[in-house]
């Protein structure tokens, strides 16, 4: 990732690796030389608070106060963690660092490397490692959803994925199971099914913070539309047809939906109410 933004939008980091020589001659690979790569830490008003020459890919914690830089080769490889002033907090040596994610409360970091999928606390202590490639992490690292299973913070297996996708709400109280033919809303972690929505091909799915709204991009036998939004509290829905490659992003509160039309290079922004 070359750019990231805090959850409240107040802080942005981005990466640059260009110089006048690169701009003018277009042939000099300064990334390989490695001396002109910077990360910039700026406010949403455009004020740059600091920038730093550093090799690696930057990630911003959701609260905007911590920067994780992953580097997979050469000197300084591993995870480098900076504070909001750009000062080094700690380093975690690893031959590779991939798929870096912060928990939504900013207190935990998940990444994959030579030791598999690894969970660190914000002080750099290794809590556990598993033979997995990538995962999503809920607030407080209460749950880690990988491609194979769901773990809790103590590395216990909560459930196997078994051919379905599992998405856990930010508050850890609800989960969505995406099966090949339906989307189910469940209480979490006791897994009581609350709602089921039938699809012939459910694709991208998102859930709002408390499970109030579920958004599904996919196909349904009962409709020619392909973008569905369900209000799980009032049992109402809204749907539309998007005749383009698309994907979407939902805010945590379920109030705003960004639809990105890939082929048309177009953004459409909705308010849900």
């Amino acid at each position: 990732m070359g750019v990231d933004i805090s959850h409240d939008g107040s802080i942005i980091i981005y990466e640059t690796s260009w110089t006048e020589n690169y701009v003018e001659k277009k042939k000099i690979d300064l990334d390989k030389l490695g001396w002109d790569r910077r990360i910039h830490y700026v406010t949403r008003q455009g004020k740059e608070l600091w920038n730093k020459k550093i090799l690696g890919t930057p990630y911003l914690s959701p609260d905007g106060k911590t920067i994780a830089i992953g580097k997979s080769a050469g000197e300084g490889r591993g995870l480098t963690i900076l504070d909001q002033n750009g000062n080094l907090l700690w380093k975690y040596i690893s031959r590779e660092t991939r798929n870096i994610v912060f928990s939504s409360d900013s207190n935990y970091i998940l990444f994959s490397g030579e030791g598999g999928l690894q969970l660190l606390d914000k002080s750099g202590n290794l809590l556990w490692a598993k033979d997995e490639e990538r995962g999503a992490i809920t607030s407080g690292a209460a749950y880690i959803v990988t491609e194979k299973r769901v773990y809790d913070k103590q590395a216990n297996i909560v459930t196997e994925i078994l051919g379905r996708d599992i998405i856990i709400s930010v508050d850890n109280s609800r989960a969505v199971y995406v099966y090949p033919n339906k989307v189910s809303l469940l209480t979490w972690p006791d897994k009581t099914v609350l709602k089921e929505y039938i699809f012939t091909f459910p694709g991208a799915t998102a859930i709002s913070r408390y499970g109030h709204y579920i958004v599904v991009g996919g196909k349904s036998a009962a409709s020619s539309n392909n973008l569905f939004i369900f209000d799980t509290v009032t049992n109402t829905s809204w749907e539309t047809k998007i005749e383009s490659k698309f994907y979407f992003l939902l805010t945590d509160d379920g109030k705003y939906l960004l639809v990105i039309f890939i082929n048309l290079n177009k953004l459409v922004f909705y308010q849900i109410y």
């Binding site: 990732m1 070359g2 750019v3 990231d4 933004i5 959850h7 409240d8 939008g9 107040s10 942005i12 981005y14 640059t16 110089t19 949403r44 008003q45 994610v101 990538r134 996708d165 998405i167 709400s169 694709g203 991208a204 998102a206 859930i207 996919g218 392909n226 939004i229 209000d231 109402t236 829905s237 809204w238 749907e239 539309t240 047809k241 005749e243 383009s244 490659k245 698309f246 994907y247 979407f248 992003l249 939902l250 805010t251 945590d252 509160d253 109030k255 705003y256 939906l257 960004l258 639809v259 890939i262 082929n263 048309l264 177009k266 953004l267 459409v268 922004f269 909705y270 308010q271 849900i272």
Partner: protein
């Protein structure tokens, strides 16, 4: 485009044919179209701040970053054509 997994929103491409959005069927749940716009450059990353709804477009190749707020207003724009010093 990349798979965004860190905000617990699994985003996959959905393959459909090409055209444009049609009118939605409305029930009690309502959606209001706030804004739509063409991408000013081919973005390698599109990220939405999960609480504020601010949207970042980023292109390493085009050396551009744009931030739109949830009302569609451009809050800032970095790039060599805007302020070259930001990039050197």
């Amino acid at each position: 485009m990349r798979l965004i997994i860190n905000k617990l929103v699994l985003v996959n491409f959905i393959l459909m044919s090409s055209a444009i959005i049609s009118v939605g069927k409305a029930e009690a749940l309502q959606l209001r179209l706030l804004w739509q716009k063409a991408l000013p450059f081919e973005a390698s990353d599109i990220i939405m701040a999960s609480q504020s709804g601010d949207i970042i477009l980023y292109s390493r190749e085009a050396r551009q970053i744009i931030l739109y707020d949830k009302n569609g207003n451009k809050r800032f724009h970095w790039g060599p054509r805007v302020d070259r010093s930001q990039w050197e």
